[in-house]
Symmetry: C2
Subunit: 106 residues, 2 copies
């Protein structure tokens, strides 16, 4: 593997890693329905507001979301919405796993 390819796979992994956290994934799904400000997440997520801010920052660094400061608030929105198209397939994996589990106790 060339250095260039290695960089490419690291970059791809970074994008996936940014989504690979339950809280971040939930927030990304919310954002795919439209922009939200940090304060809305603070109301809905059971975590310190600094933690929420850092999660959003991880997704921003990965290039998945972008932010927009308006007044006192910062609004986040999806930058590359196709990211969430994937979730149907992730759910297919979960269902496949559930089926395997069910088969074990049959």
């Amino acid at each position: 593997m060339t250095a260039k390819e290695k960089n490419l796979y690291e970059a791809k992994a970074k994008v996936l890693k940014a989504l690979a956290h339950p809280t971040r994934l939930w927030m990304a799904e919310q954002l795919s329905a439209g922009e939200m400000c940090v304060c809305e997440f603070v109301d809905q997520v059971d975590a310190d507001f600094s933690t929420i801010s850092k999660h959003l920052s991880v997704m921003k660094q990965a290039g998945i979301v972008e932010d927009d400061k308006r007044g006192k608030q910062v609004y986040y929105k999806m930058k590359v919405p196709c990211v969430m198209n994937f979730m149907g397939c992730v759910e297919a994996v979960i269902k496949s796993n559930a089926k395997d589990q069910a088969a074990l106790v049959k």
Copy 2:
């Protein structure tokens, strides 16, 4: 968020996490072109064979790949191939990031 929903997001995150590593992602892409045995990865990946085995195990635990022992060798293949459909979008994120980077130095 209910406990059930929480479990769901944890399960989804686990699937993403299993792909969110450069080596695992590369291996997953290879597997989406057809099954491969561990020994082939050992030849092509610059990591200890035990490390490779553990990476494959992570993807297996997540339900992304399945294994099949034939003789001395263990063959892995994608279990839910749609997983790799996502990569086009991940690449779109990378391109978007590259564009942003380029804009910085314009």
